[in-house]
């Protein structure tokens, strides 16, 4: 068992944000719940127990419960994280849960990340802009495994929204691509299968809604549950933006 409180099981005190926009009588408020801690108890287990034994109207999102689907981003004692990988043993006995900011609230801890990320993908055209059509009869194009690993590194983002919630800029500027958006752009930028050149990218990133909107507070880097190297991602994007400004060359 991990965590600073490993070994001793406690009576946990939860304070959970409640609001049901579909209920005209509902007003935003905090609600308290008590729960006995169990070994290996994650917020996935704890919240389901609260819902099933105390308040069945409680809304939250989980799917894979193994930190890969990105459904369960929430504010845990003021810090965004995935509920499924947060063990209560790592938390004090008072646990305050809020929905992620920035995203539209669906109810209680449930927010609409799907719409946000779809819009981000459309805006940055986050797909491979292939120069040629797929030839089913041809062998696959080669790629150096180091490059494949580098692309995979950026591809590991699970779009949970924790970085967006933690980002001061994203909280204020709704047009800001946000850490996940910038990471997605960098992932396609380094992919040789994508035919967009540096001047195409310049339009997307070299403005205050792109990488130059980042104020460098780097909460995103600290909270990312997948530990994406966002600091390096922004450095890469800035370098590329400058290079395109000075050279205007097509990428080789």
């Amino acid at each position: 068992m991990t965590g600073s409180n490993a070994g001793k099981l406690r009576r946990l005190h939860f304070e959970i944000f409640r609001y049901n926009p579909e209920d005209p009588d509902s007003v935003p408020h905090m609600q308290s719940f008590e729960l006995d801690e169990a070994p290996y108890m994650s917020l996935f287990i704890a919240l389901n127990q609260i819902r099933e034994t105390q308040d069945p109207s409680l809304q939250f999102d989980f799917a894979c419960r193994s930190a890969i689907c990105g459904s369960c981003g929430m504010m845990v004692n003021g810090r965004p994280n995935l509920g499924c990988r947060t063990l209560t043993s790592d938390l004090p006995e008072i646990i305050r849960l809020h929905p992620l900011p920035v995203f539209k609230l669906i109810g209680d801890l449930s927010v609409d990340t799907g719409t946000w990320f779809r819009q981000m993908a459309e805006k940055s055209e986050a797909w491979v802009h292939a120069a040629k059509v797929f030839n089913p009869d041809a062998q696959e194009e080669r790629m150096d495994d180091d490059l494949a690993e580098a692309i995979y590194e950026g591809d590991r983002c699970i779009e949970c929204g924790c970085c967006i919630a933690s980002c001061g800029v994203a909280n204020l500027n709704t047009d800001f691509a946000g850490p996940a958006g910038l990471n997605r752009i960098a992932r396609f930028m380094m992919d040789p299968r994508d035919s967009r050149d540096e001047t195409d990218w310049f339009e997307v990133i070299s403005n205050e809604d792109g990488v130059f909107g980042c104020l460098g507070m780097m909460a995103c880097h600290d909270v990312c549950p997948k530990e994406l190297p966002l600091l390096e991602v922004y450095a890469y994007l800035r370098r590329k933006a400058l290079a395109s400004r000075f050279s205007g060359r097509k990428r080789s």
Binding site: E22, S66, C69, D112, R118, F134, E140, D145, Y152
Partner: protein, 647 residues
């Protein structure tokens, strides 16, 4: 409140790999496509597939000589001869193109590194020189039940990388995805499907989608095993329920349920077969590699059904590690080294750290077999067209297509989603080109109204009846303890009684919350009866099948019986009838005659009929079960006898 009505050419239910790949095919052909998904599509359970996607590219040294025929043979053997061999052939032939197409969509496949590479093979460290000529081609790793290294992979996040690439194509093509929306009843007239009534999981409101063609791609039904599954909470089998409730569309082989050998104990989170493929060991409490005794040839890399049974037996024999959460065994990947674990098996490393607080470079991983995959599902022909219902298709885990028979090989499901998505999408596109949307909207509104009334009925019912979560937990305990890895007539009969009683309880169950909106308890309650119906047909199908085949193992009938049971279970159950109807159809045209799988028991009851006789009457027999005509004639894709050169 009046119901809204949306119309489209193609409705795809499910935003995972199979559904989205199918949607792409139909949209690329110029059709209007709408995807309904209970979660944003990138959160579909396809994202959790870790280790690999099988395709016979033959790019690395340990894959030399591989070809689709070997892949086909492995798949048929893996299925314990329960598969439709023509479908397995189509699958194996098209898998290489599907994998290469994903590279085109952007999947960062792990690549061959030309030169000296160090691997773990059958417990030994082995240095192999990969040819420089193949440097940069898609790499393979070993998986269970295969003759060659064949699984293509992106670290241990293959499903995630594939799903993101495919969803990027969906965005590129501008396909409309309506997330947080659940299909709750098919709109149909008994022989033609016209879309669905759906429920919005944001607001709780119902609406209709009318479509020329409807595709069920909702994944498996693992959650009928409650928490005893690797599956996501969303894998509740609702696509199978949509079909079953029509009373005419059958489900196939529902008793064929796979248990994955290595789920994390006790949480049930998947730990990929790639761990064993890359050289990991299974150990008992005495640190003994029991799989070497049990399967000297394949060792830890026998098929999943075989490995899971040996593990379950090992724990029954008292050689498991006892804990308050039940016994487990150890998965040992320490010897693969931290560098390998943090690159090629990175997701496993993270899961171990995050969920049990251990470092697999130094620590053993507690694992035990756990429900993982649903071989059964909506019975379809080789075009993905559902039996008995024109305009209804199914693809991926939701379908019983049926390339897996009674056991699926690791890495074959991820490949199936793409191969079937492409192929069924093509057939759907052809279908909608030649049909028009002749639906009576009154039929659509009636379906919506029924769905609204079901929800209203739950909200109005009061009293002291049981709670929905109590019923779910009782279902899960019965399924895991009585319809699990080892099955007997006594336990299956008990399960049938328990589950049938729970089904009656369901009609008296009471909600604790009447909250307006999506109401999570109501949302679950609306699925519960369907889940119980799937549980009942799974248990009864298992009770009726008095043999052992693949993942279906009867300790009271331990032999595979090709004389009596070389067939597929087919079950129908309309929602207003008290009992399901079971029947049995031939598995499909047989090219490779039943034999030994190469692992597991070599004892079996031989078939009495000749292959010619079996194949001869098959067309009419399957048509009697509701199989609709296919675009190409039956057997057109079989390459008769080509497998013989490979054995």
């Amino acid at each position: 409140m009046s119901a809204r009505l949306i119309s489209t050419d193609v409705l795809v239910i499910g935003g995972g790999l199979a559904g989205e790949r199918c949607a792409i095919e139909a949209a690329a052909a110029g059709h209007d496509v709408l995807v309904l998904s209970v979660v944003p599509p990138r959160r579909s359970h396809s994202c959790a597939a870790q280790g690999g996607m099988q395709a016979a590219l033959g790019n690395c040294v340990k894959a030399e000589g591989d070809n689709p025929t070997l892949h086909f043979l492995d798949t048929v053997r893996g299925s314990d001869w329960g598969a439709d061999q023509e479908v397995a052939r189509i699958f194996a032939d098209e898998a290489p193109v599907a994998v290469r197409e994903l590279a085109h969509f952007g999947v960062p496949w792990t690549r061959v590194r030309g030169g000296r590479n160090s691997y773990f093979i059958r417990g030994e460290r082995v240095d192999i020189d990969e040819s420089l000529e193949n440097d940069g081609l898609i790499m393979h790793r070993d998986f269970g039940g295969t003759a060659k290294w064949r699984a293509c992979y992106a670290a241990a996040g293959t499903g995630h990388a594939a799903l993101y690439a495919v969803d990027s194509e969906v965005v590129r093509l501008g396909i409309t995805v309506r997330d947080r929306a659940e299909a709750v009843e098919l709109i149909h007239d008994g022989s033609r499907c016209w879309g669905v009534a759906a429920r919005c999981l944001r607001t709780g409101r119902h609406f209709a989608v009318v479509a020329k063609a409807t595709v069920i791609a909702t994944g498996g039904y693992g959650r009928i095993y409650g928490q005893y599954t690797t599956n996501a909470t969303i894998n509740e089998g609702m696509g199978a329920v949509l079909a079953l409730n029509t009373g005419v569309v059958p489900l196939g082989n529902m008793e064929a349920v796979q248990f994955h050998p290595t789920a994390l104990a006790p949480s049930g989170i998947l730990v990929t077969e790639g761990c064993r493929g890359d050289g990991g060991f299974l150990l008992d409490k005495n640190m003994h590699r029991f799989m070497v005794d049990a399967e000297p040839e394949k060792q830890e890399l026998a098929s999943r059904d075989v490995v899971s049974r040996h593990m379950a037996q090992c724990m029954r024999d008292g050689n498991g590690i006892e804990t308050p959460f039940g016994p487990h065994l150890w998965l040992d990947i320490r010897h693969l080294g931290e560098e390998h674990l943090t690159t090629k098996l990175r997701e496993v490393f993270d899961i171990c750290r995050d969920f049990v607080g251990l470092n697999p470079a130094n620590d053993l991983i507690p694992v035990r077999p756990t429900q993982h995959y649903s071989m059964g599902g909506v019975r379809v022909n080789k075009d993905g067209q559902a039996y008995n219902m024109a305009g209804l298709f199914a693809a991926g885990e939701a379908a019983c297509w049926d390339m897996h028979g009674f056991n699926r090989l690791g890495g074959n499901s991820l490949a199936e989603t793409i191969v079937a998505g492409r192929l069924v999408g093509r057939r759907v596109a052809e279908f909608v080109t030649t049909t028009s949307l002749d639906v009576q909207t009154s039929r659509a509104f009636e379906t919506v109204k029924r769905a609204e009334q079901r929800a209203q009925h739950w909200l109005e019912r009061s009293g002291s009846g049981p709670g929905v979560y109590d019923i779910r937990d009782a279902m899960a305990e019965s399924m895991m303890s009585e319809v699990g890895i080892f099955r007997t007539a006594d336990e299956l009969t008990q399960a049938d009684h328990t589950l049938s009683a729970l089904l009656l309880d369901c009609d008296n169950a009471v909600l604790r919350s009447k909250a307006p909106g999506m109401n999570p308890e109501l949302s679950f309650a609306l699925r519960l009866k369907g889940m119980l119906r799937l549980a009942v047909v799974t248990a009864r199908g298992a009770l009726a099948r008095t043999e052992s085949r693949g993942a279906h193992f009867r300790t009271d009938y331990p032999l595979r019986n090709d004389a009596e049971w070389l067939n597929r279970t087919v079950v129908r159950w309309s929602d207003d009838s008290t009992q399901p109807t079971f029947s049995y159809e031939p598995v499909g045209l047989i090219d490779v005659p039943p034999g030994h799988r190469g692992y597991g028991s070599d004892e079996r009851i031989e078939m009495k009929r000749t292959i010619e006789d079996y194949n001869g009457g098959l067309q009419e027999d399957q048509a009697d079960h509701g199989r609709l005509p296919t675009t190409e004639p039956a057997g057109s894709r079989i390459r008769w006898g080509e497998w013989a050169d490979q054995t």
